[in-house]
Symmetry: C2
Subunit: 218 residues, 2 copies
């Protein structure tokens, strides 16, 4: 019974995500689905990327949270259009929510929308929200066994960002193990080591994203 | 449609969790549901607690993971009965899984079963698995805004464990803020600061758990 139910929700989500993707394609807007565990550093990384990309692209943000608006306030402080999406308990964002929110943005004036998904290394990976591409963030303190333990999040992504790399001296974290596990399930995906706090690696990541965004807008 | 479906699963889960609780009560076994984000340190904390409690209680472990058996192997290395529960993609443990696994243990000889839930700060809190009580683990690197952002996990728990406290010097983490947020939603819950790595705070937590276990077994 349970499996059939999930299937219905998924099919409905797929119909809507196709609509979202069509709208964004017509308006030439690149939607980036940013996923990772609670505390992986999604908001900080998006903030850092906005600073590096805002001279080149017009950017908006959808902040997904179960409740509250802590993260949207951080983005709005950068004078970037931000919408807080509260899922009221739900553990992931679905395409229906994105479809409802898009009219809140002036899509003709935007190039990029970052969507910060709910902090969760499992469920968000199952739901296509109409994104142009996906970023998965894994932070060093979470441990180097996460690709093996939560495979879908690393298989179904376009780019893995290892965040909080300034913390490598303090944790027993083998970046080569993570890279090998990731390459095993996702040989084509991007892989970047960064620290939002020190700025290490952010330029390279921003350049990669800039190229991918430009390809979507072309 | 979606909400009704969730309701059906929940009601089914409640029936089964009541059965599990009845079995455990008859056998005088205390089931502890350990929850937290990926990488919060659930396995390490359970391992540390086993070392401190095994002279007083007979202990078993159910290790929940989406796939693989990395964590169960760590527990089995301590010569503790361990069962690996693979959810095959699902983001939480349901009572039905516990009901199926219980016959794998010699319940007449056990006092305590630790259940390590899937690493997820959202969904596991919604599912009663027949536990005697719940531990929520939040690690310092995850950030001090998590009680506000993921409220159910902190409202519906018996004890919050702040883990990786040896990392406080390296992160911008306000323990008083977390304590105040937690007290706001859960005035009766236990609260402990520990580090599985340095051992700080573990004795106090183990003593508290020992008292709670003894109350269940009485």
């Amino acid at each position: 019974m349970e499996i059939q139910v999930l299937h219905q929700v998924m099919e409905w989500n797929e119909d809507v995500s196709a609509d979202v993707r069509k709208t964004l394609s017509e308006k030439k807007v690149c939607l980036i689905n940013v996923m990772g565990s609670p505390g992986a550093g999604k908001t900080s990384l998006i903030t850092a990327l906005i600073r590096l990309l805002r001279d080149h692209f017009s950017i908006g943000v959808i902040e997904g949270d179960i409740t509250g608006q802590i993260d949207a306030e951080k983005i709005a402080a950068l004078h970037i259009p931000a919408v807080q999406l509260n899922t009221d308990g739900a553990c992931h964002i679905e395409a229906m929510s994105i479809q409802k929110i898009l009219p809140d943005f002036e899509l003709d004036k935007l190039d990029v929308i970052f969507v910060e998904n709910i902090g969760n290394l499992v469920c968000p990976a199952e739901f296509d929200i109409g994104e142009s591409f996906r970023l998965t963030i894994l932070s060093v303190p979470e441990g180097d066994d996460k690709v093996v333990k939560y495979p879908l999040m690393f298989t179904d992504t376009d780019c893995l960002v290892l965040n909080k790399c300034d913390m490598l001296p303090y944790f027993d974290f083998d970046t080569q193990r993570v890279a090998a596990d990731y390459r095993g399930v996702n040989p084509e995906g991007g892989l970047f080591q960064v620290s939002s706090r020190t700025g290490e690696g952010l330029e390279a990541l921003a350049q990669h994203l800039g190229e991918r965004i430009s390809a979507v807008l072309a």
